[in-house]
């Protein structure tokens, strides 16, 4: 009987220890750099659909009317990333590309700061934490390219100019059959904001 009790105790301790270890492994994997690499949406997925108005009354919508839209998830802190600003300046001349800045919440500083760093032509839109969550974005500055069909073409955290241009190149690549089926739980959804 003592042996049976010992077995139960040992087994339960081992099970609980393993469960705790699995919790630890999962927590680390979901909060570290590895997890940030998984942020954003995979190419080919349907991007969230929205329509927002900027401070001067311009209506911006996603999917865009132009072939490609670059959604920059950032705010006034973008000025701390001069290389990213250079990258945006490099690609903003392209007519087929529409660039928008989407803030997580109302940010009075975003527009003046963008004007100061020479990105005044880029509309600044007030998003929401739920919209950021719909794009699976936690860390900024984050870039997502969406095509006119509403599909994500490329997405990544950006820290350098070359990453912006590289993402634009990736966005131009045709989607393969493996990219056309949604692979993540995020689906087309409408965010009730703006117009």
């Amino acid at each position: 009987m003592l042996l049976a009790s010992s077995f139960v105790v040992v087994a339960l301790i081992l099970c609980v220890a393993t469960v705790l270890a699995l919790f630890g492994v999962t927590h680390v994997s979901m909060s570290g750099a590895e997890a940030i690499e998984r942020d954003g949406l995979a190419p080919g997925m349907h991007a969230p659909v929205w329509s927002l108005v900027d401070s001067v009354g311009r209506v911006v919508q996603s999917p865009p009317r132009v072939p490609l839209q670059l959604i920059m998830f950032t705010d006034h802190s973008l000025k701390a990333f001069p290389s990213v600003v250079d990258g945006l300046r490099e690609v903003m001349a392209q007519e087929r590309l529409e660039i928008v800045v989407l803030t997580r919440r109302r940010n009075e500083l975003a527009e003046p700061v963008l004007r100061l760093i020479g990105l005044d032509r880029i509309p600044v839109l007030t998003g929401s934490p739920s919209l950021y969550a719909a794009y699976n974005v936690r860390v900024t500055p984050f870039a997502i390219f969406v095509d006119s069909a509403g599909r994500v073409r490329a997405s990544s955290l950006v820290n350098e100019a070359w990453q912006v241009t590289k993402l634009l190149q990736l966005a131009d690549l045709p989607l393969g059959p493996e990219n056309l089926a949604p692979r993540r739980r995020f689906t087309r959804r409408t965010v009730g904001a703006g117009v």
Binding site: V10, V19, L22, F23, V25, A33, R38, A42, A154, L157
Partner: protein
């Protein structure tokens, strides 16, 4: 000595439950590993069925070993499975070196390498320790203990399943940052 045998028995049982639960979270990726070991060209539905069957088998043997510790035949079966692990690791090391083994689904990024063969041998060694003679009559569990152990095994499998799902969800390929 008895405590050592009991620890070995429970450790291998827990390992099988975790491995089975984690593999079930993404049977498609485990099916791609299974394909490496089947020389015939067979379709994905069958490969997936084999992958799910193997995962469920591991889970079932683990649960049975945990809840019926007095049955010696189960210890022999667990040892045989551990020997299969060693064989698979060795074959993988010989023919598919560097490929992901997906032994624990997305919970582990381990590949077929020499360390993998060693790990398999250690698991087989622990399973061999569990084969040592223990008074079976003294290991008879009552219904309450069995239910408790079954619940613990289910919790373990669900945690492994969820953890593997969370780790494997939406692994990215086109990241240019970092």
């Amino acid at each position: 000595m008895d405590v050592l045998v009991l620890c070995a028995k429970t450790a291998v049982a827990c390992l099988l439950i975790v491995a089975g639960g984690a593999k079930l979270a993404d049977p498609a990726s485990f099916a791609s590993t299974v394909r490496l070991f089947i020389p015939l060209r067979i379709g994905w539905p069958l490969l997936s069925a084999i992958a799910v069957g193997v995962s469920l088998g591991e889970f079932a043997v683990g649960v049975a070993s945990l809840t019926f510790p007095a049955i010696m035949a189960l210890d022999v079966l667990v040892f045989a499975i551990a020997c299969v692990f060693v064989a698979v690791s060795a074959i993988g090391y010989a023919f598919h070196r560097g490929r992901s083994c997906r032994c624990f689904g997305a919970l582990s990024q381990r590949k077929f390498d020499a360390a993998g063969v060693l790990r398999g041998a250690v698991i087989a060694g622990i399973a061999a320790v569990a084969l040592a003679h223990v008074n079976a009559a003294a290991l008879q569990l009552d219904a309450t203990a069995r239910v408790l152990l079954f619940a613990a095994a289910a919790l373990l499998a669900m945690t492994a399943f969820t953890a593997a799902r969370a780790r494997g969800a939406g692994s990215r390929r086109e990241v240019v940052a970092q």
